[in-house]
Structures are given as structure tokens and as C-alpha cells.
């Protein structure tokens, strides 16, 4: 079954209803369906790390949420290791974990407590987690003597490392990273990136990394995709992208890709 793709997404579509706030009191607020993601097709092979680059609002988080069963889709399909994400969510939930921009913990509880209860949701017994939690916290470089401190007393960088630890604790085969380093100070950022690299080396994990940090994408990913206004406009290695857009850097390629798209739309109008 090694030929089976880790992730296979076909024409995936997600719409949200947007209320147009505009107009005065006399105007009824109009509701409009807006596609946050449309016609997205790609696949990830097992063990691969793919970065999705996109500006704010381009649909990165929507993609991550769809793959983690938090949203229903409006068209197309998505499979994780052969399991239909929308028809067999439970099977997918066992395979997937996620780290998002915000650390998302019970802030008064300690790292150990947060990891402990969430391990339970994945079927890990107290005996199993008692051993695994200190080990994983050590691996992310979290000082053992601070394990009992409330999350709210820890720095953002620390919290993000715990978020990575929480995700890895239950050994996911697909790791969804949604801007894991956004808002971190440079040093924490490097540490978290270093850790992501080490996950790639030591775990059998496939990684989808959403970011708007071009250097991060280039440093960590095998392939880079560009998501623009809900559409995946390309997905290839950094070198191929640069060549395709005649750019020196990924950043220049990104600007060329998204900028050109923008101009096309204008011309169409």
C-alpha cells in the first residue's frame, strides 16, 4: 500500500456565507456565498513535506480545517491514506493532528495536564501517557521543572513547542501545520523550524505546512504550493517554481504568480 497517497484532494470546494454589512439602516444586509476554496486539487506522497504559501485570507486555514474534519465541504473530495475525510471522519481523525497559529490550550492548566487529557481523546491510557509525555516534552526542549506551570505563564515560543508536542504525542501520520511560527520571535521561530525538520527525519509523518513565510517554506518543504484567493495556482519544487516564473527567489516567484493572476482577473472584467 506504499503507493497510496497520504493526501489526495480533488476539486475541493468550500463556501462561506458572507453578510455584506454595507448600506445604511434601510438596506437589508445581503447574504452572499463566497468560495474560500475552489477547485483545489493536489496529492501528497507519504513522508513528503509540502508547504502552502498564501496571503492572509487565501484559504490556508480553511484547507487545514477541511482536512481535519472541522468543516464540511461543498464539493469535490479529500482522502487521507485512502479514507474519505467527509464520509469516514473518525478514521481520519485518528491519523491527523494539527498545530495552528494560536497555541489553543486550557491556559490555567499545565503543559503536562493539557497533554495528558488530550492524549486520552486518542485512546492513550494513563500508563502510556505517563511515560510518553515527559519524553516528548524533553524532545521539544521543554525544561522539565516547568512542566507543572500554567500555560499562561509560558512564552509564546514555549507554548508553540508544547503544541507541537501535543500533536506528536499521538503519533499522527499526517501533520497539519497552520502558520506554526507566525508571531514568534526570531529565536523561537528557528527552534520550532528546527524541530519540524527533526520530525521529518525521525517520524513517519507527512507534513502539510501552511505559511506566508517564503524562507520557511523553502527551507522545510519538498514542494511549494501557492494558494491565491482560494485557488491553488501551482505546486512544485522551489527550483521549478522559480524557473517557471523566471524569478530569482521564491518570494519573487510568489509575487509573480499571485500578481499575474490578479492582472488576468482585471483584464477579464
Amino acid at each position: 500500500m506504499s503507493s497510496q497517497p497520504a493526501v489526495e484532494v480533488q476539486d475541493l470546494r468550500k463556501e462561506f456565507i458572507r453578510r455584506d454589512g454595507g448600506g445604511g439602516v434601510r438596506h437589508r444586509r445581503r447574504r452572499k456565498r463566497v468560495a474560500a476554496l475552489h477547485d483545489v486539487t493536489f496529492s501528497l506522497t507519504r513522508g513528503e513535506c509540502v508547504a502552502i504559501l498564501g496571503q492572509n485570507g487565501s484559504g490556508k486555514s480553511t484547507l487545514v480545517r477541511l482536512l481535519s474534519t472541522l468543516l464540511q465541504h461543498d464539493g469535490g473530495s479529500a482522502h487521507v491514506f485512502g479514507n474519505d475525510v467527509f464520509r469516514r471522519p473518525r478514521a481520519v481523525q485518528r491519523l491527523v493532528n494539527r498545530v495552528s497559529v494560536e497555541a489553543s490550550f486550557f491556559k490555567r492548566m499545565s503543559p503536562a495536564e493539557n497533554l495528558s487529557y488530550s492524549a486520552r481523546f486518542y485512546g492513550m491510557t494513563p500508563r502510556q501517557s505517563r511515560e510518553a509525555i515527559p519524553r516528548i516534552l524533553e524532545r521539544v526542549g521543554f525544561p522539565p521543572e516547568r512542566r507543572g506551570e500554567p500555560m499562561e505563564d509560558l512564552s509564546r515560543g514555549m507554548q508553540q513547542k508544547i503544541a507541537l508536542a501535543r500533536a506528536l504525542l499521538v503519533a499522527p501520520v499526517l501533520l497539519l501545520l497552520d502558520e506554526p511560527t507566525t508571531g514568534l520571535d526570531p529565536r523561537s521561530k528557528l527552534e520550532v523550524q528546527g524541530f519540524i525538520r527533526s520530525i521529518r527525519e525521525q517520524h513517519d509523518a507527512t507534513i502539510l505546512l501552511c505559511t506566508h513565510d517564503m524562507a520557511e517554506a523553502e527551507a522545510l518543504a519538498d514542494r511549494i504550493g501557492i494558494l491565491h484567493e482560494g485557488a491553488l495556482i501551482c505546486l512544485d519544487t522551489a527550483d521549478t517554481l522559480k524557473r517557471a516564473y523566471g524569478a530569482e527567489t521564491v518570494e519573487a516567484a510568489f509575487l509573480a504568480a499571485t500578481g499575474r493572476q490578479f492582472e488576468d482577473e482585471k483584464e477579464d472584467e
Partner: protein, 278 residues
């Protein structure tokens, strides 16, 4: 096949235990809030139970001992049911506030294990707190429990728990559909239960339409049963008339609660209501 089912069941039980474990950590971490809130509840209960003595002092003729116990049971039972209801109702609201909601909803934890875990925690915590409240408040009063059957009262309380957990599940879903209005509606639902269930007065004093509503409120039977047990020493057999409606409402409310919640969750996932930032 059978083997597969035991694996699945085991997983559900571990998940269920995870919910109870998490809530226990939370109580520990917020222990001073719990203490403060408990003391407030004690004070609040006292202001209610002294009403009977107050009425006597004002010149009304009444059996102070009996009326004090009637009020005490009203306050204590309501504190139990209110707590159950609140804990289950806040299943979604609390996690949304902490920002953990998406992590809980993307975990392979079945919703029944999740919600029943909240219910089980609420029952255990609620019973402990209620027994303590009853003990502490009783210390302030010179009431005598002539032939109270406290065991039978506990059976009534236990029977009522199912229905309150079920109703709590239905209100828990409200914040999933509308983050702010949902929480507000939850409050209103709780207030409605309070007023129609005869917590401090017989249901018969209510306007007719409210009396009709009270028939469907599990709190009505809980209060009636608990009062008969503590005031008249009625045993479990004699309380059957109050216990079976409670069990019946529970048998309907829990599956209905789970179904309503599942429906709400589907709605939330369709419209992106679990959480929208990030």
C-alpha cells in the same frame, strides 16, 4: 468482530475518562474560584432559608421547622440541578473561550463519550458539592429532621440527573449555532426551569400555563420527591410516582440531547461556526 468492538469500546471509555480528568484538573486550577463560589452559594442559600423565620417574626403563623426545610431543599436541589445543567451547557462555550474547541472536535472522541463524560463529571462534582452545602447550611439552622429518609432523597436526585444532563446537551449546542446568542439562550432556559419548577413554592401557585409547563420539567418531580423523602420520610417505593417521570424524561432527553447536538455540530461544520479566526 467482537474483538473489534471491545477495542472501540475501550477507546470510548478512555476518551470519556479524559473528559473527566480534564475537568478535574480545571477544578483544581480554579480551586479558589470554587471556594469563593461555594461560599457565595452558602450565603445565598441562607438568605432564602431564613425567610421562614422572618415570616414568623413578622407575625405570620407557620410551621417554621417545616417551611425552613421546604426552602432548604428547594435551594440545595436547585444548586445541584443548576450546577449539572451549567457544566453540561458550557461544554462548548468554555472550550470556545479557551480556544481548544477545534482540538477537541477534531479528536477521534465520539460525541456521546464527550457529552456523557461532561455529565458524569457534573454528577460526581455536583453530589459532593451539594452534600457539603446541605451540611454547612444545616449548621446555621436549628431545624430537626424528624423522620427524614435521606437515602430516598439521593435516589430521587440520581434519577433526575439523567434528564438534566440530557437537557444540558440540548442547550450546550446553542453556542455552536450562534456563539453569543447561544449562551444567552442557555441562561434563559435555566431561568425558565427555575421559575416553573416550584423551587420555593408549590407549583399550584403558578399561572395555569406555567403549571402545564412544569409537568414537563424534571425539576418539578425532583423537588416534590426530595421534599416527601426529607419531610415525611417517604421511602423509595412511595416516591415511585416522582421517580418514573424522571427516568422517563431522562430516557428521552439523553438520546434527544445527543441527536440535537449531532445536528448542531453538523450545522457548525457546514457554516464554519466552530471557530473562525486563524
Amino acid at each position: 468482530m467482537i474483538r473489534l468492538d471491545t477495542v472501540a469500546l475501550r477507546r470510548e471509555l478512555v476518551g470519556f475518562a479524559g473528559i473527566v480528568e480534564r475537568n478535574t484538573y480545571l477544578i483544581r486550577r480554579f480551586v479558589w474560584w470554587e471556594v469563593a463560589w461555594f461560599l457565595y452559594t452558602v450565603a445565598n442559600t441562607l438568605t432564602i432559608v431564613f425567610i421562614a423565620k422572618g415570616a414568623e417574626a413578622a407575625g405570620y403563623k407557620l410551621d417554621v421547622n417545616r417551611e425552613t426545610i421546604v426552602l432548604l431543599i428547594g435551594a440545595v436541589v436547585w444548586s445541584y440541578l443548576g450546577l449539572l445543567f451549567e457544566i453540561v451547557t458550557e461544554t462548548v462555550a468554555w472550550e470556545r473561550w479557551e480556544g481548544t474547541i477545534e482540538y477537541t472536535f477534531m479528536a477521534p472522541l465520539s460525541r456521546p463519550a464527550h457529552l456523557l463524560g461532561m455529565g458524569a463529571f457534573a454528577v460526581v462534582y455536583g453530589v459532593l458539592r451539594t452534600v457539603l452545602l446541605f451540611g454547612v447550611v444545616s449548621e446555621f439552622l436549628d431545624v430537626t429532621f424528624v423522620h427524614a429518609d435521606f437515602g430516598a432523597a439521593m435516589v430521587v436526585l440520581a434519577a433526575s440527573s439523567f434528564s438534566f444532563v440530557g437537557i444540558g446537551m440540548m442547550t450546550a449546542v446553542l453556542p455552536l449555532i450562534s456563539p453569543e446568542k447561544g449562551t444567552q439562550l442557555g441562561f434563559i432556559a435555566q431561568g425558565l426551569l427555575l421559575v416553573i419548577s416550584g423551587v420555593y413554592y408549590p407549583v399550584s401557585v403558578l399561572p395555569q400555563w406555567m403549571q402545564w409547563l412544569s409537568v414537563a420539567s424534571p425539576a418539578t418531580y425532583t423537588l416534590e420527591g426530595a421534599r416527601k423523602a426529607v419531610l415525611d420520610g417517604t421511602g423509595v417505593a412511595g416516591l415511585w410516582g416522582d421517580i418514573w417521570p424522571l427516568l422517563l424524561i431522562g430516557v428521552i432527553a439523553i438520546p434527544a440531547g445527543l441527536a440535537v447536538f449531532a445536528q448542531g455540530e453538523r450545522y457548525a461544520k457546514r457554516h464554519g461556526r466552530l471557530k473562525r479566526s486563524g
